[in-house]
């Protein structure tokens, strides 16, 4: 059932076997997995079914450098479905190397490996509505799809792994009817957990303190409590719960909120192909079960080790939209349509660049020069994106000049100085707000720079054209739009040793018997992959743990 906390009497205490805080990708995935488990499950969600400015404002906070990180109330949604209400849907699993201890990458290494997640990835993939768990061309397509760059031979990169796209599925809209019909599961909307109260010994969660914006207060008590509130809010809740542990729960070694990672990403350089137009395929293929799939350039594990750099992938991309020199009607249209594109997408599409009036005119001229292209594009966007439930994932513009830029997405190394902390000011419920101080390292710049250099060498050696980029501009381009939005990783890292980690291999907070975390907060390293699929897989694994070995704890 789904109910509203506003209808509960003040001072009430809710009991459950398992209480999950946060109805986003992780919380809903866990709830779905527990529906038929015989456990009494309580899912507390701060928001309602729709966007509510008052609730969303609870996410507001400050950032150390506005150029490097978006405000904390952007790229995440405090409502039923969580940030799956706005996500882009890109899915891919982590690579085996992401879990390994890499001596060249400080603080790397997970206490679990890819094999521990493999049993859960296929189901996670289904929940994300990304079809079969098939992430290579050979697995996903009985007849191989067109090569990404015909003639490209590389010892450093592969082009046969895929990213697959969710609808993108809003977990609340998609699975709400299942949660509503479930008898042993209660979803409580408008229920904000403001503190975690431990027992006198500080070793178990006694109660969760819950408040509504309408002024009600009550508590929830469960045998197992799971924080599924996203990588930023997990740290905030742990740090703000200080009655037994003055530095916050799980923070005896000053680790909560540290090692905060997003991804480093950007668009750079010019790839000019000398091969025929048809030899380049940078768009999507649709798998038999109807999923948009796309090849990408992926840096091999062997190369990462040999070069001592992090994980890295790249895609062919259109030229920068803001510069009308691309003379492309559709790109100029996108520039002019900027006010109608949601903030989260517009930022990476155009940035916040100031554009001169003359450039505006040039964009208008570009649009007028290609009315047919504009119409075709508008129809495609209307049919395949706006009206479609399975949305065409991104803008793919074929270059008549056979010229592309490179869109990269790279692993950020764990860095204790990159962190979120509690600010002095509080939100409407009296909870300290977050202060985000995201930082990158020279190692991150090196990962991107070295990968691009290798790519340039391989393109040249293959004789398919050339890739030019300004080595000196790498740092500027990878931080042009700041940290990649929406990927909040590492603030409660997983590890075997409580002195260097916050949760154990079962996602249980060290030293607190019944407190678990289902979030990218527990990732010790960030991979090249977008986090949602792995968050869902970890959540399913945790749900199974709580029904099996963890149930006895």
């Amino acid at each position: 059932m789904i109910a509203s906390a506003n209808d509960l009497p003040d001072g009430h205490c809710l009991d459950a076997d398992i209480c999950i805080v946060g109805a986003g990708a992780a919380g809903i995935a866990m709830a779905m997995e527990l529906i038929d488990s015989g456990r009494d499950v309580l899912l507390l969600e701060s928001g309602g079914f729709d966007d509510d400015p008052g609730t969303q404002a609870l996410y507001a906070g400050s950032v150390a450098d506005e150029r490097l990180h978006s405000p904390p109330d952007r790229y995440r949604q405090r409502r039923f479905g969580g940030s799956t209400t706005i996500w882009g849907g890109r899915c891919m699993p982590f690579d085996a190397i992401d879990f390994a201890v890499r001596d060249y990458l400080p603080h790397s290494g997970w206490p679990i490996g890819l094999g521990d997640l493999m049993p859960y990835y296929p189901k996670a993939n289904r929940l994300c509505e990304a079809g079969d768990f098939a992430y290579t061309v050979a697995e996903a397509f009985p007849v191989p799809t067109r090569p990404m760059m015909d003639g490209f031979a590389s010892a450093h990169f592969t082009t046969d792994t895929l990213e697959r796209f969710s609808c993108p599925t809003d977990f609340g809209a998609r699975y709400g009817h299942k949660l509503r019909a479930a008898t042993a599961l209660r979803v409580l909307l408008h229920a904000n957990v403001t503190a975690i109260r431990l027992d006198p010994a500080g070793e178990r969660v006694d109660t969760l303190e819950v408040r509504t914006l309408s002024g009600r207060r009550f508590t929830a008590r469960a045998r197992h409590c799971v924080l599924a509130t996203g990588g930023l809010e997990v740290a905030r809740l742990l740090l703000a719960s200080r009655d037994r542990h003055p530095k916050g729960i799980g923070n005896g070694h000053d680790l909560v909120g540290r090692y905060y990672m997003c991804h480093v990403a950007g668009t750079i350089g010019t790839l000019r192909f000398t091969t025929p137009l048809a030899a380049v395929h940078h768009g999507y293929d649709i798998s038999a079960e109807g999923i948009y799939c796309r090849r990408r350039l992926a840096l091999t594990a062997q190369t990462q080790r040999a070069q001592g750099i992090g994980n890295f992938i790249a895609r062919l991309h259109h030229p920068r939209i803001t510069d009308p020199a691309h003379r492309n009607a559709v790109l100029s249209l996108l520039f002019l349509a900027r006010p109608f594109i949601p903030y989260e997408y517009a930022k990476r599409l155009h940035g916040d660049e100031q554009v001169a009036a003359r450039a505006w005119l040039a964009h208008v001229r570009n649009v007028l020069s290609g009315p047919l292209d504009v119409l075709r594009f508008a129809w495609h966007m209307l049919r395949d994106r706006k009206l479609a439930e399975r949305k065409f994932p991104s803008i793919v513009i074929r270059s008549r000049a056979n010229m592309y830029s490179l869109d990269f997405h790279a692993e950020q190394q764990p860095n204790p100085a990159s962190r979120v902390t509690l600010a002095r000011d509080v939100d409407a419920l009296g909870m300290p707000r977050l202060h985000v101080d995201w930082r990158y390292t020279e190692g991150d710049v090196q990962t991107v720079r070295r990968a691009l250099e290798l790519l340039a060498e391989d393109v040249r050696a293959s004789g398919i054209g050339r890739f030019d980029f300004d080595t000196a501009s790498v740092e500027r381009e990878m931080t042009r739009y700041g940290a990649y939005g929406g990927h909040h990783i590492g603030t409660a890292r997983m590890g075997a040793d409580p002195r260097t980690s916050v949760v154990d291999a079962d996602c249980r907070v060290h030293g607190v018997g019944n407190l678990f975390i289902a979030s990218a907060a527990v990732f010790p390293t960030s991979s090249q992959a977008n986090p949602t699929l792995t968050v869902v897989a970890l959540a399913l694994r945790l749900a199974n743990h709580l029904q099996g070995p963890g149930a006895k704890a």
């Binding site: 019909a181 038999a288 079960e289 109807g290 009206l387 399975r390």
Partner: protein
């Protein structure tokens, strides 16, 4: 040799049952299909029976040891046929064993796991009510076995294979999202025939009612996607909520009217036909048939989901030009 009469022997299931009986060494087939299915032993006895007429039915039952009632089609045919059958059987000198084919539709709109003792609900239209009425006409007849199959598929099944295939090829069915999360209690027609044959022979079955469906049923989405892939009707489309509303509320009634008008005028049927709102309702329904009784009492097992779908898709491959074969075959089955 036992004399076994198959009623509705020209239908999807009746035909398969007749073929199985024609090849059995313990049974002598009596068919109500004047032409008889292709490939059937010419030695079968064929009779003409007006199934809605008790007198005609009584005459048909003379000398019959077992009746397999596969009568389908219009609701009134189902009800009148069953009433005539059980009335005649009750008055017969040697009352025959009747294997009566009902349907999971008798559970109506119920959600959850349904055992055979679950209450019956006639809340899903005329077909479901007819099946309940047909079952109740057997209430005072002791020598009966009632079978309640789920969604029957097979290479020449029209309701759940043929028209579904055409909708999949036309991109009107596919991944329905939340609208296709219901349980699809598939049963392959040959597994159903096996159950019928077992019930005709096993004493333990007598007086029993049995649900029949595969034990690990897919959701409707999983069924549509897997069937489309078997058919080669790919890539599977995501059907939006908007399209489903249009299909069920906007187009269904005018398309149905067109279809009826076309039939009255002797024109070919629409292909594919309109998707009935009842199918879309079923695709949401989380009803799971509990078939443990059939497994326990009848030792009944059924083939895997993959094998069942592969066989159902076998008759539907594309021609050289990539067009789905047999698309024109949209005739409505008069019997099951």
């Amino acid at each position: 040799m036992r004399q076994v009469l198959v009623l509705g022997s020209s239908g999807f299931i009746g035909r398969r049952v007749s073929l199985a009986l024609a090849g059995a060494d313990w049974a002598s087939l009596v068919s109500d299909d004047a032409r008889g299915p292709p490939g059937m032993d010419a030695g079968a006895r064929r009779i003409v029976v007006n199934v809605e007429d008790p007198g005609s039915m009584a005459a048909a039952l003379r000398g019959i040891d077992t009746v397999v009632n596969c009568l389908g089609g219009k609701p009134e045919t189902i009800v009148r046929g069953a009433r005539a059958l059980f009335a005649a059987a009750g008055r017969a000198v040697a009352p025959p064993l009747v294997v009566h084919l009902s349907s999971m539709a008798v559970y109506g709109s119920a959600q959850g796991t349904m055992g055979e003792d679950a209450p019956l609900r006639g809340d899903l239209g005329a077909y479901a009510s007819a099946q309940i009425a047909a079952e109740s006409s057997a209430a005072s007849y002791p020598r009966v076995v009632i079978l309640r199959p789920g969604v029957e598929i097979g290479p020449d099944g029209e309701s759940w294979s043929g028209r579904v295939a055409r909708w999949l090829y036309a991109g009107r069915l596919g991944d329905l999202g939340p609208a296709g999360d219901g349980v699809c209690n598939l049963v392959h027609v040959e597994d159903l025939v096996t159950a019928i044959i077992i019930c005709s022979q096993r004493r333990e079955a007598l007086g029993g009612t049995f649900n029949l469906a595969m034990s690990e049923p897919p959701t409707w989405n999983e069924y549509f996607i897997a069937f489309a892939r078997q058919l080669g009707a790919v890539p599977v489309r995501r059907i939006s909520r908007r399209a489903l509303i249009l299909e069920a509320k906007g187009f269904a009634v005018p398309l149905k009217a067109l279809e009826l008008a076309a039939r009255a005028a002797g024109l070919p049927a629409l292909s594919p036909p309109p998707i009935p709102p009842s199918l879309l309702r079923l695709a949401r329904q989380e009803i799971r048939l509990d078939c443990r009784r059939a497994a326990r009492v009848l030792d009944w097992t059924c083939r895997s989901r993959e094998a069942a779908l592969a066989d159902a898709a076998a008759g539907w491959h594309r021609d050289a030009a990539g067009r789905p074969l047999r698309v024109g075959k949209a005739d409505r089955p008069a019997a099951r």
